[in-house]
């Protein structure tokens, strides 16, 4: 006699189980068609197992997490570059990438974006090659080198830009747009050549050679079209869907484009995610990037360890580095900071401020030579003599 879904749900609803276990339990129980008596026994056993599997209080979860992530570091390769799915884009992987993640660098050494496209209807960007290509050109930064040859005419004190029509067409950009962009971005005279097709002539505002040469250099840095910082966009078809991969990252700008699926678009620049989407998104991004880096190397590390590191880095509402300028530099204990790095200045500062070290952490207690308050050191047993009540002092201070 199997019981109904509602009965199973009401039987399980008050159990303190994690949601994935709860879901599995409900589904499996329903599929198996258990009776009420069986369900009771199942619940009892599941709870028993759950209790068994829970982490024990006073466990030094931090050290275990740090070791679990640090230890495989020795086995990682240094091969900096690898093709992350896309043959055209190089991405830092391995140990250097892991270091980059915990360092909370403002800009990663190889920023990269995965732009998912909207797929609301059958002809939406994700399924339409033409639309996707057009979007890719809109996003990719176009510089003058991509579409023209630049020659410096020293005798006439001007720069001659010969535009390639085909390249311009491909990138969907017109000569007027280019002219406008140059006059907007730089303090120069821009004119369309009257003699030749597709030629632009730029003369510096002041006629001096220095100015001209400077101009010839600067002109290559002007982004004519697209988003600055996105050096290259690659279109790839994955299954049915087209996806864009970019070298360089500009999340805020890319999300503004029509046809970009904002829910699935992502970057490997954690700091950018923090600025655009907030600290929770940054936390998830750290977890994702670290897990991916480790998995790519064929190393299995439980996600809980990575989560703990990520949570510690973000628990104050901003992304903090693991190291001197982040977590370790902001510890409450003077000794812990002094024992890590920049010993002397921490001691001098502490003296000047009149700081008090409460000796709560691990390093501090090791330094003064007493047991640490963690694991078995956090539990205090006071034996009670028979038939004699002893006032238990709050010695352990927990």
């Amino acid at each position: 006699m199997s019981i109904s879904e509602t009965t199973i749900e009401s039987m399980t609803k008050d159990l303190p189980l994690p949601s994935n276990i709860m879901k599995a339990l409900r589904n499996e129980a329903l599929n198996a068609g258990v009776s009420k008596k069986e369900m009771e026994e199942i619940i009892e056993q599941v709870m028993e197992e759950y209790k068994e599997s829970c982490i024990e209080p006073c466990d030094a979860a931090g050290v275990v997490a740090a070791q679990s992530i640090g230890e495989p570091g020795t086995q990682m390769t240094m091969r900096t570059f690898h093709y992350a799915g896309v043959a055209e884009i190089n991405v830092t992987l391995g140990l250097p990438r892991l270091i980059e993640i915990v360092d909370a660098r403002k800009i990663p050494s190889t920023p990269m974006m995965t732009i998912a496209l909207s797929k609301e209807n059958a002809d939406d960007y994700a399924y339409n090659r033409e639309k996707t290509r057009a979007l890719a050109w809109e996003i990719e930064a176009t510089r003058i080198d991509h579409i023209a040859d630049v020659t410096t005419d020293l005798s006439q004190m001007k720069l001659i830009i010969d535009l390639h029509e085909k390249a311009m067409e491909g990138r969907n950009i017109t000569i007027e747009q280019i002219k406008e962009k140059f006059s907007e971005e730089m303090n120069v005279m821009v004119s369309i050549s009257p003699d030749f097709d597709n030629q632009i002539i730029i003369t510096p505002s002041e006629p001096s050679y220095r100015e001209l040469l400077q101009l010839a250099k600067n002109i290559h840095d002007v982004t004519l079209k697209g988003i600055e910082g996105i050096k290259r966009v690659v279109v790839r078809k994955e299954g049915e869907e087209y996806t864009l991969y970019t070298e360089g990252s500009a999340l805020r700008e890319v999300l503004q484009f029509e046809g970009v699926d904002r829910t699935r678009t992502s970057t490997n620049n954690i700091n950018e995610i923090y600025e655009v989407l907030g600290v929770e998104a940054a936390r998830n991004s750290i977890i994702k990037e670290a897990t991916d880096t480790l998995r790519e190397q064929g190393l299995t590390v439980d996600i809980r360890h990575i989560m703990l590191v990520s949570d510690l880095m973000t628990c104050d509402g901003e992304v903090k580095q693991i190291g001197r300028h982040g977590i370790s530099g902001e510890k409450a204990s003077v000794f812990a900071r002094a024992a890590f790095e920049v010993t002397v200045s921490h001691l001098l500062d502490a003296g000047m401020r009149g700081d008090v070290d409460e000796l709560k952490g691990v390093t501090e207690n090791i330094i003064v030579g007493q047991p640490i308050r963690m694991g078995t050191g956090d539990v205090h047993l006071v034996s009670r003599k028979k038939e004699e009540k002893i006032e238990i002092e709050d010695e352990c201070g927990v």
């Binding site: 199942i42 020795t74 809980r304």
Partner: protein
């Protein structure tokens, strides 16, 4: 020792502060006025730097302050009265900031009262939530130094400039430390709080020294050289300099020397005091020893890896430890360690004499220090230590009474800690029980090598004998090897069979192996199985035989049920599970291996599913026993068949060689074609790549494919009769790639993931034409290791090999630092009773550990299989009833 107080006293907090001159004088045992240390008799001079009031280091003398002997007296500070105040180098930055932030006339902080109130409020708020106030204080200084006229006395503020090393200029005029000190003295208490200082413990004027504390002699012991000459510590040298200049300064001032000379001397005094504190300040030359070596002064003593903090306080040296080379002993349990007798005779365990052990302890004492389970020391209840000697051992044995303590030698069954550096994870230190063995190396079961990352090519390991009952209990419960088989990193076993264990069981259990009763017992002998099940069948002559699977089943616990694909699984599209034609699906029912081959996936370290399941379902003890039995069984099994590997194993038939050459020839042609089309500008570049990059990539791809193809050819000519293939397929050691490199073709040598391009201009070696893009010229090795490399190939191979070596060297230091940073940042996180993870300040980092509260070691529970298993078992039980 024997009378340790029951509850150890705890230091609850340590307060930091600056020392006021008054305090320095108060704690000083004596003023120091003479720069001399010892008189002609070698006796410390009074009021000199080695004054016995500062403590003693020479044996025989007594401290004049505490009358303790050398070793008992902790040392006492003295002091030097400086003739004129000098700045403390460490505070230069703050002094500068404070000069800019305070009024030059009335010394108040240049902020109006409302601002001060505001900052004070913020400071208390920040303190309450336990954050560091640095940023806020910097803001106070910034705001205050912007103000140009004092809001209290309307005095105009002048520009303060700081010049290295320690000069302060106010509108170009020099500010003497005396003037600075005067200004700071007048800052009222409430203003001091605003700049984040504590007026009771750290007044700003104390950053300018008028009296210098002299560290005790115990801090700067002098050493006597063999020649009988005394060599003073660097700090003493520095103090001598300070006293000399101080004296000269005073004499000159009293004599009314010109201002210029006074200033020079003042500067010199400042220099010496500066280098006394820190001898690596930028902008001043470091003070040097006569030999030219820079002196190691106070901050050099604290700084860095070998400094006081990291070298002496965070890492301490210990007694009761031993270190020697390790070697394997498969006859030991994984929980044991073989300790050489010479070590066991020196390391001791303290035992308090009780009625229950007195007779045994007497025996130990009578054995003395030379016969093994002996005793080395006896402690009387008053703490006196008596060494057990050949002469007094009989007397001592008679003399001991209850509550005495005997330090007996290490013996079988004692719990010790065993460690191998680098200690990268908690499994790098585990508890073993002692097994005293002859010879001079530590012995351990080769199955415990993976957690220590040890091998036997000369590795050394450390052992620590535990000294208290609590530590032994903790070590036994928490740190024993069997408790650490499962790694918290991925929740799987980190201990299991390695190398020959895997090959052995692979050979034993693969397909049907006919084993006679005699052989079967021989294989099982060490595994302590004394009975055999019913024979599998009888051969032609009617003699019963058993299969290898049956023999392996003897060491499996009876309650074990599982099924999983083996390492040799070829990942067919549809898994036939039990019906696998390659015998690559392992099925265990009620502790009997029904089907499948035992290999790395079953019993290997990191991967072994069997240990994993036994530990999770039965117990850690059963898991340890299984590993013990398994390793012994495997070794006897491999001894029965034998497994050897020689040069002939790399032989491939002639036709295979021809095929390989054909493939390589074709690849060579393909590369030449690519090069031709590149040179004729016909090559289409890959999107977003230059032409040069494109050709490199396509060549690499072509050659890589060719190497794989040759590998496949070689592989197809080598079957499971080849021991190298057995090892590679079962996961025991090596890979198919290694094998093909030996037999078929070594392949492309790469530097930074690219073909080798460095060397001469336009070519790698003079053997090639300039601009040659061909495979040979850029490090493609056609030969196999067996056939031998030609000179250019050999050279390219060396280039590739060197990169690997450099890579490893760089990586170890980088990952070491990463590990240090991670551990330092995370070490204070602890799971609390409500399963929240918090740091020392009580800040919640996670509300529930890992979002589900599950221990990663037992993380299997987070997978739905567990629920399925429970439901199935309950249903089956009900059905049975």
């Amino acid at each position: 020792m024997a009378n340790v107080p029951p509850i150890p006293k705890r230091i609850s907090a340590i307060k930091f502060g600056l020392m006021s001159p008054k305090e320095v004088r108060k704690m000083s045992a004596t003023p120091i006025i003479t720069a001399d240390t010892y008189d002609d008799d070698g006796f410390p001079i009074d009021m000199g730097l080695m004054d016995t009031k500062l403590g003693v280091i020479d044996p025989g003398l007594r401290c004049k302050t505490c009358s303790g002997r050398a070793g008992e007296c902790p040392g006492h500070f003295g002091h030097i009265e400086l003739v004129a105040p000098v700045v403390h180098v460490g505070f230069n930055k703050i002094i500068r900031k404070l000069l800019r932030a305070s009024c030059r006339k009335c010394s108040r902080i240049l902020l109006d009262p409302t601002q001060k109130q505001h900052f004070l409020g913020q400071l208390t708020a920040v303190e309450e939530i336990g954050h560091r106030p640095d940023d806020l204080i910097n803001e106070v200084y910034k705001e205050a130094s912007k103000v140009k006229t004092c809001p209290y006395c309307n005095e105009e503020q002048l520009d303060i400039k700081f010049e290295k090393p320690s000069e302060y200029l106010e509108n170009g005029e020099k500010l003497t430390p005396t003037e600075i000190r005067d200004r700071f003295e007048n800052i009222p208490d409430e203003d001091i709080r605003v700049i984040g200082m504590d007026p009771n413990n750290a007044r700003p004027e104390w950053m300018i020294l008028t009296v210098l504390p002299v560290p005790p002699v115990t801090v700067r012991p002098s050493i006597t050289l063999e020649s009988g000459q005394r060599s003073e510590d660097d700090l003493t040298h520095k103090l001598v300099d300070i006293i000399r200049i101080n004296q000269r300064f005073q004499e000159n001032r009293e004599a009314g020397a010109p201002q210029l000379i006074i200033e020079d001397l003042w500067e010199l005094l400042q220099y010496h005091v500066t280098t006394f504190f820190d001898n690596s300040v930028s902008g001043i030359p470091p003070a040097r020893h006569r030999s030219g070596r820079p002196l190691k002064t106070l901050s050099q003593r604290l700084k860095g890896k070998e400094g006081r903090f990291r070298g002496s306080l965070s890492g301490k040296r210990v007694n009761f430890s031993a270190r020697t080379v390790i070697s394997p002993d498969p006859n030991l349990s994984i929980n044991e360690v073989g300790v050489p007798i010479p070590i066991a005779r020196i390391l001791t365990v303290p035992v308090i004499v009780t009625p229950r052990n007195i007779e045994q302890l007497k025996v130990y004492i009578r054995n003395g220090t030379l016969i093994h389970p002996g005793a080395n020391y006896v402690f009387r209840p008053d703490g006196r230590r008596i060494k057990v000697t050949e002469i007094n051992k009989e007397d001592l044995a008679e003399k001991i009474e209850y509550s005495w303590m005997v330090e007996r030698q290490l013996k079988d069954g004692d719990i010790v800690l065993f460690n191998r550096q680098p200690s990268l994870h908690k499994m790098s230190i585990m508890a073993h029980s002692v097994k005293v063995l002859p010879n001079k190396t530590f012995r351990l079961n080769p199955a415990v090598c993976p957690p220590y990352n040890a091998d036997f090519d000369g590795d050394e390991m450390n052992m620590h004998a535990l000294q208290t009952e609590e530590s032994r209990a903790e070590a036994k419960i928490l740190m024993r090897v069997q408790e650490n088989i499962l790694s918290p990193r991925f929740g799987g076993p980190i201990i299991g069979g390695i190398h020959d264990h895997i090959s052995g069981l692979f050979l034993l259990t693969r397909f049907e192996n006919r084993i006679s009763a005699k052989d079967a017992f021989d294989i099982l002998r060490k595994a302590k199985a004394h009975e055999l099940p019913a024979p599998a069948s009888h051969d032609e002559n009617g003699v019963p035989y058993w299969t290898g699977k049956q023999i392996f089943s003897q060491i499996l616990p009876e309650a074990l049920n599982m099924g999983f694909p083996a390492q040799v699984c070829s990942h067919c599209d549809v898994c036939q599970e039990e019906e696998c034609p390659n015998d690559a699906y392992v099925v265990i029912r009620d502790g009997n291996l029904i089907k499948g081959t035992i290999d790395e996936a079953a019993i290997g370290a990191f991967k072994g599913k069997i240990q994993d399941r036994i530990i999770k379902e039965i117990s850690a003890e059963a898991g340890a026993k299984f590993i013990d039995d398994m390793t012994k069984l495997a070794i006897r099994a491999i001894m029965r068949t034998g497994l050897s590997f020689g040069i002939a194993d790399e032989d491939i038939p002639k036709e295979a060689r021809i095929q390989i050459n054909e493939v390589l020839g074709k690849a060579e042609d393909a590369v030449q074609n690519l090069i031709r089309s590149y040179e004729n500008k016909e090559l289409e570049p890959l999107p977003g790549r230059t032409l040069d990059e494109t050709i490199e990539m396509s060549i690499m791809q072509k050659l890589g494919k060719a190497r794989d193809e040759t590998g496949n050819i070689a592989d197809s000519h080598m079957g499971l009769e080849n021991s190298a293939v057995i090892m590679a397929r079962s996961g025991a050691r090596g890979s198919i790639l290694n094998l093909t490199q030996m037999a078929a073709c070594v392949g492309q040598q790469a530097v930074r993931g690219e073909r080798i391009r460095r060397g001469y201009a336009g070519r790698t070696l003079p053997h090639f034409e300039v601009g040659d893009l061909g495979s040979d010229a850029h490090g493609f090795v056609k030969a196999s290791y067996k056939s031998g490399l030609n000179p250019t190939e050999y050279f390219f191979h060396a280039i590739g090999g060197r990169e690997g070596l450099v890579d490893t060297a760089v990586r170890t230091s980088q990952s070491g630092y990463l590990q240090r940073r991670l551990v330092n940042a995370l070490q204070d996180l602890e799971v609390h009773y409500d399963l929240t993870v918090r740091d020392t300040r009580g800040v919640v980092v996670q509300f529930k550990y890992g979002e589900d509260g599950i221990d990663p070691t037992k993380s299997d529970f987070s997978k739905p299989d567990v629920i399925q298993r429970i439901i199935r078992s309950v249903m089956n039980k009900e059905a049975a009833e």
